[in-house]
């Protein structure tokens, strides 16, 4: 498959801001969005919470309400006009929607179970099949967007929305859709935070990806979307998607980095782009030593130590199912605006990784940018974006 698909619109909201403009401005200025955690927890860890809570859903969508659904709908706002144009152009049946998430309505189920244990009764408005299931968030999105083509949620943990981009590319390449709204959404939740705490990888301080002083990860929340079309004018195109499995361990990366290398090489091969032509790699690097060692080996094996490598997890926290799509937006911005963000928190850089990690913003043209997402289950995805000719 050699088809390159134009990114005709994009949007992202997260700890950096509630509009794409604010998010990109803070990234440009190298300012983190991390702060104290708004959830009550029996341990300390900063999080990347939205600067203000996402607005409530309109009454017509109340049955599907959850913090994840609110984030999903709030994040759509900026991209809705472009989506409406795509629907008008292609027809609603020819527009698909693929969204990565790990939580969906998990927060609602947490609250409902807590209430059940406390009072012996579930909250009146709680319906498992409406709020909790992964399809429920998609139903809220369908009602807001009017999309009538294929619709599904991808849930491969922290690679979910990068994996969703792969599905979107296939829907376009096979002619199953003429446009795909692809994205990722995840909200902070008790289960996620307590779960990562149990794995002893949450950092008690702001996370420091790629730094030798790293102490683990911070969790964030957000939503991000790309509109991909079979044809159209756009400054940036999706050139390639590479996917692989480690077949190694549920929650630890293969220390050799083989799976990560395979995914990156597959993205390059699909696009017919050589490693030398990649100007920036947006690393997965959430802030754990194991990931940095594995990803570092994979990158140096394929690219050497020349290409700038930055992690944006120090700005937003680890956005889990929203991470791949959010960092796709950051990669597209690097191409369209000609700058690579400083890898915030990386100083002093872990020099043993052998990577070129920018600790100050690099104002430089970027033609091709690669973005990595790795996940539980040994699930690896690399996305390659490039400037349209």
């Amino acid at each position: 498959m050699s088809a390159a698909f134009p990114v005709t619109a994009y949007a992202a909201i997260n700890a950096l801001g509630t509009t794409t403009r604010d998010v990109v401005a803070r990234l440009h200025d190298g300012l983190t969005g991390l702060g104290s955690c708004p959830l009550e927890l029996p341990f300390e860890t900063p999080t990347g919470a939205l600067p203000e809570p996402p607005p409530a859903l309109p009454p017509s969508l109340a049955a599907w309400d959850s913090r994840t659904a609110r984030l999903a709908v709030a994040g759509l706002e900026e991209i809705l006009p472009a989506l409406a144009r795509a629907i008008a152009r292609h027809g609603a049946d020819r527009v698909a929607m693929v969204v990565g998430t790990t939580t969906s309505g998990l927060g609602r189920t947490e609250d409902a179970y807590h209430e059940l244990k406390r009072t012996g009764a579930l909250p009146q408005d709680y319906e498992l099949h409406l709020q909790h299931s992964f399809g429920a968030m998609m139903e809220a999105l369908r009602r807001v967007t009017g999309v009538r083509g294929p619709r599904f949620a991808v849930s491969t943990a922290c690679s979910a929305s990068a994996k969703a981009v792969g599905s979107a590319q296939r829907l376009l390449a096979t002619g199953s859709a003429d446009a795909v709204l692809v994205g990722g959404v995840d909200a902070l939740s008790q289960t996620t935070l307590r779960g990562f705490h149990s794995l002893q990888i949450l950092s008690p301080v702001f996370c420091r990806p790629l730094s030798r002083e790293r102490r683990g990860i911070n969790i964030g929340e957000g939503a991000a979307y790309l509109l991909l079309e079979r044809e159209g004018d756009a400054a940036t195109r999706l050139l390639g998607v590479g996917e692989s499995s480690d077949a190694h361990h549920m929650s630890a990366p293969d220390p050799t980095g083989e799976g990560a290398r395979t995914a990156m090489a597959a993205a390059l091969a699909q696009a017919g782009v050589s490693p030398d032509a990649v100007d920036y790699i947006n690393a997965h690097s959430p802030g754990t030593r194991l990931n940095d060692l594995s990803e570092g080996l994979a990158i140096t094996a394929l690219f050497g130590g020349r290409v700038p490598v930055a992690s944006t997890k120090g700005y937003t926290g680890h956005l889990l199912g929203a991470g791949g799509a959010t960092e796709a937006v950051f990669s597209i911005v690097a191409i369209e605006q000609g700058w690579i963000p400083r890898s915030v928190g990386a100083e002093p850089v872990d020099v043993d990784l052998g990577l070129n990690v920018p600790t100050a913003r690099l104002d430089t043209p970027c033609r091709n940018v690669l973005s990595n997402s790795f996940a539980f289950g040994g699930n690896n995805v690399a996305l390659l974006f490039g400037r349209s000719n």
Binding site: M1, A153, T156, L171, G377
Partner: protein
Amino acid sequence: MQARVLGMGLWMPGFPDPASWLSGRPVEGADAPNAQSKQRRRSSLLVNMVADVAAQASAQAGVPLSRLRVVVGSAFGELTTLMEMLEERERDGLLSPLRFQNSVHNSAAGQLSIANKNKTPAMSLAAGNDTVAMVLLEALTLLALGGDEVLAVVADEPLPQSIRPGHVTGAVSAALVLAADGASGDAARPALAVLEDLRQAQAAFGSVERPQEVDGPCAAILPLIAALAQGRSGRIDVSPKEDPRWTILVRDARLVRDARGPEGASA
């Protein structure tokens, strides 16, 4: 898009394979999926169901699980593990790390990959009532763009009664090994059927069979399993309840081959 069905598997409580379900007689003792004993003890029902039906389909197709690309669909994911985590939180506030890492929706896909040293991509998705249809769509697009066979699996655990009172939904799981038309595979094993023309339609079709035994999104695959097992052709409904629903055309594999003219494959 078109795919040959090389193998299939099914597990529901009492029905350890497609034949037993079609016979309508529950098999005594078939109260848990047939997974390797070490895995079975440590893993959730969802993981074990996926492992069981995947092994059935892989064996019938003659394609090893070590090289099948995998697409798993589950409307609700690891529900039992989630309930255990919610209870842990109520009890002492802290979660078991093993339980948490196995609570992700792609736990079954990941554990299948690890158990079979399979380094090909593994997908895990959910789409409510369209879960079966979207698994088929993802598998068909993967095949259409090249590469080897794809294992398409759907599975859901029973909904927990504590948070979904009054709705009894049984466990259901099924798998298909799909190959692109003309792709390699075990040449000695003829395809069960050819699937093609997955699309949304307003009206129900004559061949639609509603599964009575179980409810829930993934039970929507049962009419397709029945048609494949009985060698019937026709358009089959693969999403329950709502219009427009997703349907797929099942064709006799021999007729599809015979129908191929000098221009190549039929539509």
